[in-house]
């Protein structure tokens, strides 16, 4: 059972801080100290210390509000190291760590797509089976890049930089990373569906709300289906935290990121293509999160391979029982 006080608190706090203007400003500036500080002050930067299902429920709320802060990274970093880490901290996804090497506690090479690399104090990376913690200040160079949502995904270069910690990771990075993205995406999809249903009820053309047109209703229904399917998958994955559920949920969420954004944008017409209307905070994040920690193809392949190995007789038991079977 989730800790509703904690989740309601996050909803209130994120609702107050992540306004359209604040999210816009965070994109412009590459960081929002005010949102991060407000979350830290209320303890939300230390989600790794609470029950993981509750932490994921908070991340889902962060996704609803398109929170432009490394809340998922802070949680993931704590999970990997098994301890709380002071200050804003980021996590390097596996596909951005391929050019790093660790020798005698010294880190060398290029870290790619570091979430908020320019703004965080530290980064956790998993290299050669070790979770290492390193200060961003020791990087020899930093190149600013962004993902589709305009969130920092920077390139950092290290040259025999001493790491602060190196120990076996306390969880599997790819799966746990995917789990954080599933939570964010479930939140964003739900918010996008609500925003779009509301817009269709308010926007009038031909003398009536566009929600009255069957062709528009079709988009609203497919959006609601995607949001419901991913919400259901995310909830189960957050409780199970096992391969089958995570793989299935990320596969569905990443797939929905393509289909649901398409439907939502079609309903919004030209208005949805503008910076002044908030749809893009959600749709661009969904496109970015779709790829992070494996897209729908990667997870379909992994899940399919596991199910194929189990064989035809196990197929339905797996569909019904998930990780209790596979």
């Amino acid at each position: 059972m989730n800790d509703w006080l904690l989740i309601d608190g996050a909803r209130r706090l994120l609702g107050e801080t992540c306004t359209h203007e604040a999210v816009q400003a965070a994109e412009r500036d590459g960081w929002s100290a005010s949102i991060w500080d407000a979350l830290s002050a209320s303890g939300y930067s230390e989600l790794a210390g609470i029950e993981p299902g509750d932490a994921l429920a908070v991340l889902r709320v962060a996704g609803e509000h398109a929170a432009p802060v490394p809340l998922a990274e802070a949680t993931l970093a704590g999970w990997l190291l098994g301890e709380a880490i002071e200050g804003p901290v980021s996590v390097l996804a596996p596909d951005g760590a391929g050019e790093l090497s660790l020798e005698d506690g010294l880190l060398s090479g290029t870290a790619r797509r570091v979430p908020w690399g320019r703004a965080v104090d530290r980064v956790v990376a998993v290299i050669d089976g070790q979770a290492v913690l390193i200060r961003t200040a020791v990087a020899t160079s930093l190149e600013r890049r962004t993902n589709l949502a305009g969130e920092p995904r920077d390139t950092l270069v290290f040259d025999r930089a001493p790491v602060e910690r190196a120990k076996p990771p306390a969880c599997e990075l790819m799966e746990r990373g995917a789990l954080t993205r599933v939570a964010l995406m479930a939140g964003a999809l739900g918010a996008m569906a609500r925003l779009t249903v509301r817009y269709a009820a308010e926007r009038r053309q031909f003398g009536r709300p566009i929600a009255g047109f069957q062709a528009v209703q079709q988009h609203l229904v497919s959006l609601a289906q995607d949001a419901s399917l991913v919400a259901m998958a995310a909830e189960r994955a957050a409780r199970a935290r096992t391969f089958f559920e995570i793989a299935a949920a990320k596969q569905l969420a990443s797939r929905a990121a393509l289909t649901a954004t398409r439907a939502a944008h079609q309903v919004h017409g030209a208005m949805g293509m503008t910076q002044e209307y908030p749809l893009h905070h959600l749709s661009r994040r969904l496109w970015a999160w779709r790829s992070e920690y494996g897209d729908e193809q990667l997870w379909a392949g992994r899940l399919g391979a596991a199910v194929a190995r189990a064989g035809a007789d196990s197929l339905y038991p797996a569909i019904a029982g998930g990780s209790t079977v596979i």
């Binding site: 739900g190 929600a211 379909a300 035809a312």
Partner: protein
Amino acid sequence: MLFTPHDLTDAELELQREVREFLAAELPRGTFRPALGMGAPRDRAFSGKLAERGWIGMALPARYGGHDRSAVDRFVVSEELLRWGAPLGHHWVADRQTGPTINRFGSEEQKRRFLPAICRGELSFAIGMSEPEAGSDLAAVRTRASRVDGGWVVNGTKVWTSGAHESDWFVVLCRTGDAPEDRHAGLSQLIVDLRCDGLTIRPIPFLSGHRDFNEVVLEDVYVPDELVLGEIGGGWAQNTSELAHERGGPERWLSSYLLLEELMRWRPELFGAERGGLVLGAAVARLWAMRRLSLSVARMIDSGEAPAVQSALVKEMATRFEQDLVVSLQELIALEPVSDGDSLFERLLFEAVLSGPSFTIRGGTNEILRSVAAKGLSAL
């Protein structure tokens, strides 16, 4: 939030295990011709065996021969039967919708008369909703019941009546009122004997030549007052409630499932390769999550809610998936379906291609379901 997450309880998992054991013993793979979902053949003896186990009319009251169990228990049983391809055609409609509808709206006498026989797996029902001029627009039904001494005389034509020639009774949605200004208020439901005088059943063969559909013509058919189901004039509301049972269940996502399982059995190497793995993984993810939405609908029925919007969302999405799966598998394996193929997969594919278009039509077209669902989206 439209759907609340639920898991099966330990008792429900135990039931699932019992049904699996029963099927493995009663209908071992390779000893029968599995069917694609609810279009399964009729087998009175098999329905009788299920009834002996207490698996028909599960959610009906024990005093009428039922088992005081839940819609979720019924979900568990029908899910296993469907995915096994079991011959559930004889009891399917009575168990899914007619039994619950009679239990909810029927008279004491009707409950005593019909429910025990349904629960024994004896009585088979068909559905008397569609007409030549009333398909998706069900309120346009023209079949009329006129008042006579002690009952009603019915005239009209029903179409697409699956299994009318093999069933015992059907529930007829008809017009009893004269108020043309309100299309809904004048509708009623009657329980009609498919063997009675004045009733003619003519086959409407499927495009494959298969017989299932019928046209049922009612000419001065006498229906006594005691076979009026629920209230005169209450037909529309009763019918809508019945449709909530007809939508959103496992039969809406399992129609083509066996193709996948059988292709894995016949050509496992396809799924060890990359392309097959992708198709398999994507299908499994979707089936897993849709099943959980469908389970949530069954729980809502158990808690007395009428999840019309949720059922429509699930059915619309899931039936499209059923068709998509057939397409994905056809693209995975270059094979022109021929009748009486050598493998079970080939035979099922032949059937699935020919019956596939019906998945998104039967029980309410997807276009109508979208309209139903769109009305409830403010609850997102």
